[in-house]
């Protein structure tokens, strides 16, 4: 019977699809699951958190600004440790063949969504064996959140252990998506708890319809969506891992929009009259991190000299094929508090040579680590390292290029006493400068398990970050981060390489797509011309 029902609804759907507006997105990876909390991949969030769910706060489309989501408004206590959220009323949960909601979204759902991640004794903490909540942990939520209380059905109070300025941005991230407690209870009663991850129910613009592993995900417009209704009726993800094949599909009209084109294809896409290309500065940075605890790289003058010996523009031209902006700061120019007054170190091999001599460095030989994988912030680390090797040889520094398998690279590059400078990068999670500076450059992260691969610990710099983190006033925070960037530039723990440009090719028929600085792909505003 069930099989028949599925079949009947499938038939009805495919009949309707002929007339309905169907938008096809050639996504690059299979989702790990549809519950956003236990996963970390952007491709998973594009398939789960963004179409299906909402959060208390949301990023305003196309920006990293925080705006009201399922919370209509909020108050923050004087000392910055208490957040009282007033929840939106009349928000409907979606339904599926197994579940029809009897109530609207309320405070119970919020508490459930957070406590299942934060409390090890919550019955849903391990609803699938071996599940972990890596983003919740990574954003330091276990140490940050003291309690979450329900004041009434539409008011929730979060109490923090200490003030945290990026808190509102943190809870706009996919891991903080709000799931239905009523649905969870129904699944519990039916003994099919893992369906929370397989057959998601949310409050978002699209309803989940079906997933064929590694092939297709189907969604339908949510007719009861509380926000602006989507313009398309059906959303389909055609999972296509290879970038060249994605482009062929786009050209053949098998999909309307694709992520991550190969840099080499950009010019051809621009030339194609049936396609258009959106572009935007990426919220990322690629860098070369010296080991600042090892001589002679513990001397800022030496690091500065090496930075001046490398031709940054040549790397941007050759490796990024011009599709990037040379980086002078550790945060990208699209991020608030970016200090544009800072001058980049000039490319000047002669001066560099002299500075090295003055620092008493002769016949220096060093290693440069080139990562084995392509990332959005670094299309070809090996080539980058080769260009650096060539430049540095001109000032008498001999470079040996080394590489390891990716997992090993990540691990070994954080081992104390590491020999050599490491090419790596970062893509922002929530648009807050703290998410770059503290994660990548603070004293706290300069140890095994952190991500400060320069092992650079500057007390003044870290103090500025700590102050900024507990300050609520944006202007004061901006000043603190600007000052921090000045120290960074003087001390030169990295050679900052580039902020790569992100491209989204799409069919000419597509309108209304808004690129996200966070790299999310969302479709509630897109439309297709007939």
């Amino acid at each position: 019977m069930k099989q028949f029902l599925v079949f009947a609804s499938a038939l009805a759907l495919s009949a309707a699809m002929a007339e309905a507006k169907t938008f096809v997105y050639c996504s690059e990876a299979s989702p790990e699951g549809f519950d956003p909390a236990p996963y970390t991949a952007g491709g998973t969030f594009d398939a789960s958190a963004h179409p299906i769910y909402n959060r208390l706060t949301e990023f305003k489309k196309g920006t990293t600004e925080v705006e009201p989501g399922l919370a209509e408004s909020w108050e923050v206590s004087e000392d910055g440790t208490e957040y009282t959220f007033h929840l939106r009323k009349g928000v409907k949960w979606q339904s599926n063949e197994k579940f029809t909601p009897t109530r609207d979204f309320n405070a119970d759902d919020v508490i459930f969504s957070y406590e299942r991640q934060g409390k090890a004794d919550n019955p849903w903490h391990q609803y699938i064996a071996g599940i972990t909540y890596e983003y919740y942990t990574a954003m330091d939520m276990p140490n940050l959140v003291k309690s979450i209380e329900k004041i009434d059905d539409y008011t929730v109070k979060f109490t923090l252990n200490q003030p945290e300025a990026p808190f509102l941005a943190n809870i706009a991230m996919p891991f903080a998506s709000i799931v239905s407690k009523e649905y969870a209870d129904a699944l519990d009663a039916a003994g099919t708890r893992e369906d929370l991850n397989n057959m998601p129910i949310g409050t978002g613009p699209f309803k989940f319809v079906a997933y064929q592993k590694d092939a297709v995900i189907r969604y339908q417009k949510n007719p009861d969506y509380w926000g602006t209704a989507p313009l398309i009726d059906d959303l389909v993800f055609a999972i296509t891992p290879d970038a060249a094949v994605r482009l062929q599909k786009l050209k053949a009209g098998e999909c309307h929009l694709m992520p991550y084109p190969a840099p080499a294809d950009i010019e051809a896409i621009k030339a194609d009259p049936n396609l258009k290309l959106d572009e935007q500065a990426g919220l990322n940075v690629g860098y070369l991190a010296y080991n600042t605890t090892m001589a002679p790289f513990d001397n800022p003058a030496v690091r500065k000299a090496l930075n001046m010996a490398i031709n940054k523009q040549a790397i941007v031209d050759a490796v990024f094929q011009g599709h990037a902006e040379p980086a002078k700061n550790p945060i990208p120019p699209t991020m608030w508090s970016y200090n544009d007054a800072i001058q980049d170190d000039p490319y000047d091999p002669e001066a560099a040579k002299k500075m090295l001599e003055e620092a008493g460095v002769k016949d220096l030989s060093m290693k440069i680590w080139a990562m084995p994988v392509q990332r959005p912030y670094m299309p070809n680390a090996r080539r980058t390292a080769e260009l650096m090797q060539e430049d540095l040889s001109k000032v008498g520094v001999s470079v040996e290029i080394v590489s390891y398998e990716w997992g090993e690279y990540l691990q070994k590059s954080m081992e104390a006493g590491r020999d050599g400078a490491v090419i790596l990068g970062w893509t922002g999670d929530n648009g807050d400068p703290d998410n770059f500076l503290s994660v990548l450059l603070s004293c706290d992260s300069a140890k095994e398990g952190g991500a400060n691969r320069a092992f650079w610990c500057n007390e003044d710099f870290s103090k500025l970050l700590k102050d900024a983190k507990v300050t609520a006033d944006p202007a004061t925070r901006t000043k603190l981060y600007e000052d921090a960037q000045v120290i960074f530039k003087e001390q030169a723990p990295w050679f900052t390489i580039a902020h790569s440009t992100q491209y989204v090719p799409m069919s000419n028929k597509v309108s209304g797509f808004v690129m996200s600085p966070l790299g999310d792909f969302t479709f509630e505003t897109v439309d297709i011309a007939e």
């Binding site: 096809v24 055609a238 999972i239 060249a244 990716w406 990540l410 095994e448 991500a451």
Partner: protein, 335 residues
């Protein structure tokens, strides 16, 4: 015959155990571990790393882990994926029909073209047909699959627009998964045009996957035919004035088929290897692509159990080939 089958089956036991060891060690020999890869650029503290490893059971000595793995296998438990958290067997069964469908079409194409070409090349030894077909076979055998697939896509889907670029069926069709074989399910769905769509999606990937086996089969058929045609009984048949068609069809081909059938059987393993690249390029949701993803994420349970399941299947297919061999050539089963 029963004794023959039993003896063959008995050989499978040590082979299977050997495969469990290889499958288990293979992914662990690779540097890097799943916890590190999950953490990415952010890194993971040693404490959290230990905690997660313990949760996954990777803090125990490797030998213990192996016996745990073997113990669970005995109970039919293939473990759960670290990434999707779903049972490996369930994922395998979901994806396997797609690979079988593709592999089946590929082997059919390879056999239907490879055997006649080989026979013809052998009969017309030294002719232009022989030279061209055998050169083409050599080229096909050394074809880099990824490049070849992309080339065909650009030509047939991009420029000519004859075939779809990738996937198993047009996204306009949506029907329940009954058998997992798209050709069958599309017929069962009763939706107009669904079967044709599924078939057209199979054309390019099958050709790409068939390329290497086709080359091998054609060359093997040719050399087997040449050898058989030099035999006394063929010469005798000819001398008796038997029509050439009968000589080749009955006397030569049947005997030449013995090594060819073995070759076709061995191509099943080659197909699995080819499927990895073919499935990736054509976004074909099969086990080849699944294996590659899992290896790059160090999804230990998927890689070890997946390899085991694939190996077991290849073993079964080879067993069937051995038995067929026995059917074609009675002398073998007597021995």
């Amino acid at each position: 015959m029963v004794r023959f089958i039993l003896s063959k089956l008995l050989y499978l036991v040590p082979t299977f155990l050997g495969i469990t060891i290889i499958a288990f060690s293979f992914v662990r020999i690779l540097p890097g571990d799943p916890v590190l890869l999950m953490a990415g650029e952010r890194g993971v503290t040693p404490e959290r790393h230990a905690e997660l490893s313990a949760q996954l059971g990777y803090d125990k000595p490797v030998v213990m882990q192996y016996f745990d793995f073997l113990g669970r296998l005995m109970q039919g438990d293939f473990g759960n994926s670290l990434v999707t958290k779903k049972p490996v067997l369930a994922e395998f069964l979901t994806l396997f029909p797609a690979t079988v469908e593709l592999g089946f079409c590929a082997i059919v194409i390879a056999t239907l073209i490879g055997v006649p070409v080989g026979v013809l090349a052998a009969i017309r030894r030294g002719s232009w047909f022989d030279q061209i077909s055998m050169t083409a076979a050599l080229v096909g055998f050394s074809m880099p699959i990824f490049w070849w697939g992309l080339l065909l896509i650009i030509l047939f889907s991009g420029i000519l627009g004859w075939t779809p670029v990738s996937g198993r069926i047009s996204l306009l069709y949506f029907f329940p998964n009954v058998t997992g074989f798209m050709l069958i399910d599309s017929l069962l769905s009763g939706q107009e045009g669904a079967f044709a769509s599924a078939l057209s999606h199979l054309v390019l990937p099958s050709i790409v996957l068939a390329t290497i086996p086709l080359a091998v089969i054609a060359r093997q058929t040719r050399s087997a035919m040449l050898e058989v045609m030099g035999e006394d009984y063929v010469r005798t048949a000819r001398a008796k004035g038997m029509p050439p068609f009968r000589v080749i069809g009955i006397h030569a081909l049947r005997n030449a088929m013995i090594p060819v059938v073995t070759t076709i059987g061995l191509q099943i393993g080659v197909l699995m290897a080819g499927a990895i690249l073919t499935e990736t390029i054509f976004s074909w949701p099969g086990i080849g692509k699944w294996m590659i993803d899992s290896i790059s994420r160090r999804d230990y349970p998927v890689v070890q159990s997946g390899l085991l399941l694939i190996a077991a299947l290849v073993m079964v297919v080879n067993l069937i080939v051995d038995l067929t061999y026995g059917l074609i050539n009675p002398r073998i089963r007597v021995k």
